[in-house]
């Protein structure tokens, strides 16, 4: 006959032994894993930047900050524009004052702590402006390194950050080769461009595409062969940034010159 103490001990062991594996199962749910393999969505967002058209007005940066509630005076931004001035001796000067939030208002190059650099207009071989934003990569390195699953990619290709789950370790910020991520100064979690997910999900364009007067920015759906952006990407000579990292970025550039970093 089993005594009470032995019975209680054994009962607890059995109950614990049954419950524990069940609680662990949430990490690997076989049904969900199967679902992910099937289904190839109708939408995959991609972006097209035409460097020939950008004049560095910075309206895109201003619109993005207001639309996405990134504090205007904070020195971080979801998107920015870089200016490249290449002189005849082969030197390249690059700047992006406040991310071009106020546009480029002076010919002098902003070298941060090194001061402003004057360039003789006669010496300029070429100059152009390069808008940049999150590439919503197909192999996003930032998502791979998130320790808690706070950042992730949706089926339509947008990489989002769960503000209620991010622990603020900064690994994703360090993991992005393009420098598009930062810490939100108010929420103190990771933040980045998300192609204005709240706008594109309603059939609108992103704030930066809407703001650009020169048509340098366009957003499209690569799964729709009739999409004008898709047509350009598939038929014209486009390039991407830092292809060697293997991240498979989905922001395509027309006119991407070799000096672009």
């Amino acid at each position: 006959m089993i005594n009470r103490r032995e019975f209680c001990k054994k009962a607890i062991m059995v109950a614990g032994g049954v419950v524990l594996p069940l609680t662990a199962l949430e990490i690997f749910n076989p049904k969900r894993l199967r679902a992910e393999r099937d289904g190839k969505g109708k939408v995959r967002w991609v972006f097209l930047v035409d460097i020939h058209k950008c004049v560095g007005c910075g309206f895109c940066v201003k619109a993005c900050k207001i639309e996405n509630e990134v504090p205007y005076d904070a020195n971080v931004t979801r998107t920015w524009v870089e200016r490249y001035v290449v002189t005849k001796d082969g030197q390249t000067c690059i700047d992006s004052p406040k991310g071009a939030r106020d546009g480029f208002t002076t010919q002098k190059i902003d070298q941060a702590h090194h001061g402003m650099k004057e360039i003789n207009p006669e010496e300029i071989a070429k100059a152009f402006f390069v808008p940049k934003l999150c590439n919503q990569c197909d192999n996003p390195a930032c998502v791979q390194v998130c320790p808690v699953g706070a950042t992730y990619q949706t089926e339509d290709g947008i990489v989002l950050v769960d503000r209620s789950w991010c622990i603020g370790c900064g690994y994703c910020v360090m993991g992005c080769p393009y420098g598009v991520r930062f810490f939100h100064p108010v929420y103190h979690v990771a933040e980045k461009c998300n192609f204005c997910y709240h706008r594109i999900s309603k059939g609108m364009k992103t704030a930066c595409v809407n703001a650009c007067p020169f048509g340098a920015r366009q957003i499209g759906n690569i799964r729709d062969p009739e999409d004008p952006v898709t047509k350009i990407i598939t038929s014209e000579q486009v390039n991407v940034l830092k292809e060697e990292f293997g991240t498979k970025p989905q922001v395509f550039y027309l006119g991407l010159s070799r000096e672009v970093k």
């Binding site: 904070a74 931004t77 998130c146 622990i167 603020g168 080769p177 103190h188 979690v189 990292f245």
Partner: protein, 417 residues
């Protein structure tokens, strides 16, 4: 000011969102886990490989490893922008990220160290309980002690030779399992950096191995240094106590035991130092030789901006000089102490040069970022990620060590060894 702006000085072209996000606390974290892993490996050299001369320092190292454990968590808690969510790493771990390994590895390692200490000290705990129980009247402190030791004993009061033998075997097994776990604890920290392809300085397969070797170096050096300091304190205390009780060991007896332990331990220190420096040199030579796209900016950082920190402080004072000090014949206690402290400084500089050095250049390869560590904590953020935060982290293990040794003494203990 956004996070990082207060201590980052940008030069030339740096991406607008780039700042030094991983600052002093991320330098402290691998330094502290390195000390943890190193102290444990030193202790295991006795428990697993039976190096008899390391017996005294083995217990010391094990307890120090325990005191360091909670401190390993501190830099992370101070660094996280949402520290109260730190537990999420154990709740929804994303194992494709090296940091997610932290939850499992750290917990496993903590369990092993705690268990090993329990087995090592069980005889002492049980004997203390029996002594306290035998007393007719106990003071308040003694009652608290009895309660505490009774909980720690977990009702395992058997002191027969078979039971003690089981303790010894358990210690051996745990120490053996603990070595790869300690290596993992620090190897994964190296993997955190080595796997970041976005950072040209960090990305190398050698990083985990370099971190492990320098971790062992730092742990051994810390134990030598602390052991020497503690022994000197003991000499003073015993010299004073001997006036009343001549049976206590004399200063000369303590000194001769000390120098044997220190000499033996420093041999292992040198072995691991050779390994660590070889790997770091290999990495530098390869980068120099292959000269890939990032080499131009890395060369500016390594040979110009950080030249003093890398070649003078880390390699010179932190490696070459201690090497000479330890190898010169007739090793004295004083020379060993100076050598150990220099090694610790060298390992700290290695962490600094990797973490801060990796953020000294922009991902655009066209600009630099200088790290200006906040000195005066005029805000909570400047405390957490500044000098005072670092000082808090480095002093806490010694405080904890003192407190732990009130319960689990490291000298003159009859234990399962």
């Amino acid at each position: 000011m956004v996070h990082g702006e207060a201590w980052t000085l940008k030069e030339f072209f740096v991406y607008p969102n780039e700042y030094i996000y991983w600052s002093i606390q991320i330098v402290m974290y691998p330094f502290m886990t390195g000390l943890v892993a190193g102290a444990f490996v030193l202790s295991s050299l006795y428990h697993v490989f039976g190096v008899k001369q390391l017996k005294e320092i083995a217990r010391f190292a094990l307890v120090f490893s325990l005191a360091l454990l909670p401190v390993a968590m501190m830099p992370l808690m101070l660094h996280l922008q949402q520290p109260q969510r730190g537990i999420y790493v154990m709740m929804t771990p994303h194992f494709t990220s090296a940091i997610a390994a932290f939850g499992i590895v750290f917990t496993t390692y903590a369990m092993i160290v705690l268990s090993e200490i329990w087995f090592v000290y069980r005889q002492f705990i049980v004997q203390t309980i029996l002594e306290l129980r035998a007393k007719q009247r106990r003071s308040t402190i003694e009652s608290v002690q009895l309660a505490l030791y009774s909980i720690l004993a977990m009702r395992a009061m058997d002191l027969s030779p078979e039971a003690l033998h089981k303790d010894e075997r358990a210690v051996g097994i745990l120490a053996a399992i603990g070595i790869p776990v300690a290596c993992f604890l620090h190897g994964y920290a190296g993997f955190i950096f080595g796997s970041v392809k976005a950072n040209a300085l960090w990305m190398t397969p050698l990083m985990p191995v370099i971190f492990i070797c320098s971790a062992v170096v730092s742990g051994v050096a810390l134990c030598i240094a602390t052991y020497i300091v503690t022994m000197e304190l003991r000499k003073l205390i015993y010299a004073w106590k001997r006036k009343n009780d001549p049976r206590l060991p004399s200063t000369d007896e303590l000194k001769s035991a000390e120098i044997i332990t220190v000499t033996m331990t420093s041999k292992y220190l040198l072995m691991f130092m050779v390994l660590a420096i070889t790997l770091e040199m290999l990495d530098l030579i390869f980068r120099n030789y292959t000269a890939v796209k990032s080499w131009d900016i890395l060369r500016s950082v390594i040979y110009e901006k950080d030249f003093f920190k890398i070649f003078i402080l880390q390699y010179g004072l932190g490696n070459v000089l201690p090497f000479i000090l330890f190898l010169l014949p007739g090793l004295t206690i004083r020379r060993a102490l100076i050598g150990s402290l220099l090694v610790l400084m060298g390992v700290f500089m290695m962490r600094w040069n990797v973490v801060i050095g990796g953020q000294a250049f922009s991902a655009s390869f066209s600009g630099f970022m200088e790290y200006q560590m906040p000195i005066w904590p005029s805000s909570i953020e400047l405390f957490k990620e500044g000098l005072f935060g670092a000082l808090t982290v480095i002093t806490t293990p010694f405080v904890l060590f003192y407190l732990v040794t009130r319960v689990l003494p490291v000298f003159g203990v009859k234990d399962s060894h």
